[in-house]
């Protein structure tokens, strides 16, 4: 079947486009067969005298080996990384998962007339509670405002520190990380998992796989379970959920979210980001040359060599990359960052940790893979290639004593602050301040009036004119109130309320239930001799005498053209 080629386009390789790169070294590509580990290690011991182990790793989604569309997914077995970014990611994971699972259980006292759940989307009663804020459906613009802030915030984050959302806080990333923790705990790290996967189905394999999938399903169920607690009183619902008395929609929601969590986090993983998610593509368009991205600094890494000393002895230049594949082994997306910036890269920075570990062991500067801006990278690349006239020569970026030359561009935080950043920050703050101002000054007592249009007015037997109004009193706090309704203007006019034994007059007090709307049918009557024109305006004023809150509505009073 013909189809447009959306997916198999070459990886976005900003670096390659911006700068000439050394000819790809393909010599090693075919030499990664099984069983060659020992000789390689021996050679490295002899030649480099280090403890760096060469890992058997191949970038599953590498541009060089990219498969046609119908190839089955190749499993990725990310190795556990250690380092600063991994520690940071553990922290982010703990915080985000903690927020997600624990928030519904936070309590917030709102008095006897409102739920005490700190965050609650009460769909049945159409109220949204967020700590001290309660919004009614017509105040949904606060949510819209927050979503716009989230959007602009993502622009800000992406334009400065790249795809940080993808790499650290996206639920897909966090849950896949969590699922990988389970997988590692049960099946072991990368090599053990690969061995298990390749091995025959034994009782042990069956037991390991079954327990892994069972725990994944458990996490999925807990994810779906936590979700529904945002929509009902959590302690009540958890009881109902386990006694089988909860609403069917609760079970359906849990089932759907269990299925999606298990499928996306356990089975599909990186494919969700690569094939399903539009965000990587949008973000790719938002990056510019001053955005931080995870970058393999081939201006110091190339020419890479596993046999540095032998090559050096032969008089050829050697870069810092020892081609140990540690960066590939830890990558949860199955790419080789050394191919350049790619659509698949979620910038989780685990390859930075892996490479920094290796560089540390080798006694070289960390940051062969690092967060770098394209402009810094390009400057350094020009330096290393003598203005693009040669292939990368690492000696050009170093002084005679092996240190980096002063000409090497290093990242400084000021580089990400540019007009674009300020525009995003300004916009974000402006919306935030606007929302805050609106929140602090909003009315918690409101009146809406609907004038009867059919008929507009009624002539009564004494010749006076009557107009009907539907008056809606909105008591938007969770406490009962006595609201005083007064009419201002309209000489001689009097109000009466249908269904209430309130004496006709210009003012009446009426109790309104907590957090509810009270709808009144009010008739206003004006004697014939007081009528001044076919349309007069007057004001409905509602007041809470105890809190001094008030609201007004200017209404029209219609009369026939010629009143008696």
């Amino acid at each position: 079947m013909p189809g447009l080629d959306l997916y198999s386009a070459p990886a976005i390789d900003l670096h390659q486009r911006a700068c000439p790169r050394p000819a790809p070294r393909l010599a090693y590509a075919g030499s990664l067969g099984m069983g060659r580990l020992s000789p390689a290690r021996v050679e490295m011991h002899v030649l480099d005298n280090t403890q760096v182990e060469r890992l058997e790793a191949e970038a599953v989604n590498s541009a060089k080996v990219r498969q046609p569309m119908y190839a089955a997914r190749k499993k990725i077995f990310p190795k556990r990384a250690t380092g600063n970014f991994r520690r940071f990611k553990w922290l982010v994971m703990a915080i985000t998962l903690g927020i997600y699972y624990l928030t519904p259980w936070l309590r917030w006292d709102r008095g006897p007339f409102a739920p005490d759940q700190a965050v609650l989307l009460d769909l049945a009663n159409r109220r949204f509670y967020f700590f001290f804020i309660e919004i009614w459906p017509q105040e949904f613009y606060y949510v819209a405002g927050l979503l716009i802030m989230a959007g602009v915030g993502l622009f800000l984050i992406t334009s400065t520190i790249g795809r940080a959302w993808c790499g650290y806080t996206c639920p897909q990333t966090v849950w896949v990380d969590l699922f990988l923790v389970v997988e590692r705990a049960i099946e072991g790290d990368r090599n053990a998992r690969m061995k298990l996967d390749a091995g025959p189905w034994t009782a042990r394999k069956l037991a390991l796989r079954a327990s892994k999938h069972a725990i994944w399903l458990g996490i999925g169920a807990a994810t779906g379970g936590a979700w529904i607690f945002y929509f009902a009183d959590a302690p009540t619902l958890v009881g109902e959920l386990f006694t089988g008395t909860a609403a069917p929609v609760a079970y359906i929601t849990v089932a759907v979210l269990t299925a999606t969590t298990y499928t996306f986090g356990g089975l599909m993983r990186e494919q969700v980001c690569t094939y399903m998610c539009p965000w990587p593509r949008i973000q790719a368009a938002m990056l510019d040359e001053s955005s931080l991205t995870v970058t393999y600094n081939d201006w110091r890494g190339e020419p890479r060599s596993r046999h540095a000393k032998k090559v050096q002895a032969a008089g050829q230049s050697v870069g810092d990359c020892v081609d140990c594949n540690a960066c590939v082994a830890v990558c949860p997306m199955g790419i080789d960052i050394r191919d350049g910036q790619q659509l698949e890269c979620i910038t989780c920075a685990l390859c930075i940790d892996a490479c920094d570990g290796v560089m540390g062991k080798l006694g070289r500067e960390r940051g062969l893979i690092s967060y770098a801006t394209l402009s810094d990278y390009n400057a350094n690349m020009m330096l290393a290639t003598a203005g693009g006239s040669s292939s990368v020569n690492p000696s050009l970026v170093r002084t005679a004593d092996g240190l980096f030359s002063d000409k090497v561009a290093h990242f400084h935080v000021s580089k990400i602050f540019r007009p674009r950043t300020y525009v995003y920050m300004g916009l974000w703050s402006l919306i935030g301040l606007g929302l805050l101002y609106s929140l602090l000054t909003r009315d918690r007592l409101q009146v809406n009036v609907l004038h009867d249009r059919n008929p507009q007015f009624v002539t009564l037997s004494d010749g006076s004119i009557r107009n009907g109004y539907t008056v809606k009193l909105l008591n938007m706090i969770p406490e009962p109130r006595i609201i005083v309704v007064t009419m201002q203007g309209l000489q001689g006019g009097e109000m009466s309320v249908v269904g209430d034994d309130i004496k006709a007059g210009r003012s009446f007090a009426i109790p309104v239930e907590p957090d509810r709307l009270k709808m009144l049918k009010v008739f206003v009557r004006q004697p014939a001799d007081q009528i001044r024109g076919a349309a007069q305006t007057f004001t409905f004023r509602v007041e809470d005498k105890s809190s001094f809150e008030a609201d007004e509505y200017t209404a029209t009073f219609n009369a026939p053209e010629i009143a008696r």
């Binding site: 079947m1 013909p2 997916y7 569309m69 059919n454 008929p455 009564l460 004494d462 049918k521």
Partner: protein
């Protein structure tokens, strides 16, 4: 398709279509998409077996699940009736004043009565119950036959001048064109108009009062305030069913128009009539 063309950059064959030098790559659709596509076909076949689908000569296949949209509507209506059941039985067992005094029941009756009004009454009384010439405005406080909820119920049940209902409200103002002279009619018309406003021919008022005393007080009363027992309108207020002013009143004296309202009791049933009465009573003029 002519001879196969391979795209140089991607190494993928093209479909052979070319637009201004741009060729379409012949990449396959994603596998999951194709599988989903086939599943939808299988699903569609199963669906047409489970649900009514295939047209036959005079009908269509019924479907294994026995679903029909008519049944669904019927079930929904039954459920809606059941939900209204307790209100309807309460309306049936209580008097209209009792219904009007109960907040929840009144709200239900007003909603139900409003709906019934839109179907049965708007043709004459107007969609806002505002009436028109010859058809009373039900919003105001002027009632020919009484504005208490029970009186309204009685009027709706048996109608007005509705010949086939023996209990119908009946009044018949004689055509005074055959009884008194044209001058007297002009005089009494002016007199009656003067009771509620200014008149042009003030000189006719005094003789008109005499004509009124001789001919009209039996029904309209000494003070012209009317009589609800007889359906005789109050002639001193601002509301005129057939128009105000000397001429319009005189015309009505000479040859009165008299509207007919059908009896609704037998057609709508007692419960619906009660709901209508409560609704009309709530429009603002109820006594």
């Amino acid at each position: 398709m002519s001879d196969e063309h391979i795209d140089e950059i991607s190494g993928v064959s093209t479909t052979g279509h070319e637009w201004d030098g741009i060729r379409e790559l012949n990449n396959p659709l994603p596998r999951w998409w194709v599988i989903t596509f086939y599943i939808t076909i299988v699903w569609a076949i199963g669906y047409t077996i489970a649900y009514p689908a295939w047209p036959l000569l005079h009908s269509a296949t019924k479907g294994l699940l026995g679903y029909s949209s008519r049944n669904e509507v019927r079930n929904e209506l039954t459920a809606a009736e059941a939900a209204k059941g307790k209100y309807i039985s309460a309306v049936a067992s209580k008097s209209v004043s009792e219904i009007a005094a109960d907040d929840g029941l009144r709200e239900f009756a007003i909603a139900a009565g409003g709906a019934a009004f839109k179907v049965n009454c708007v043709q004459c009384h107007g969609s806002g119950a505002q009436g028109s010439k010859g058809f009373p405005n039900l919003n105001d406080d002027d009632w020919l036959w009484g504005g208490k909820a029970e009186q309204i119920q009685q009027t709706i049940t048996h109608g007005i001048r509705f010949a086939s209902d023996p209990d119908t409200r009946l009044s018949e103002m004689p055509a005074f064109g055959d009884i008194i002279t044209a001058d007297q009619i002009a005089q009494v018309g002016t007199y009656v108009a003067s009771l509620s406003g200014k008149v042009q021919h003030a000189g006719l008022v005094e003789p008109g009062a005499k004509v009124f005393a001789e001919n009209c007080v039996a029904c309209h009363g000494d003070n012209a305030k009317g009589n609800k027992e007889l359906g005789a309108p109050d002639l001193t207020d601002a509301i005129w069913l057939y128009g105000s002013g000397e001429t319009a009143i005189a015309t009505q004296v000479r040859a009165p128009k008299q509207g007919v309202m059908p009896a609704w009791g037998a057609r709508l049933g007692e419960t619906k009539v009660k709901e209508l009465a409560v609704y009309i009573h709530s429009l603002g003029g109820g006594e």
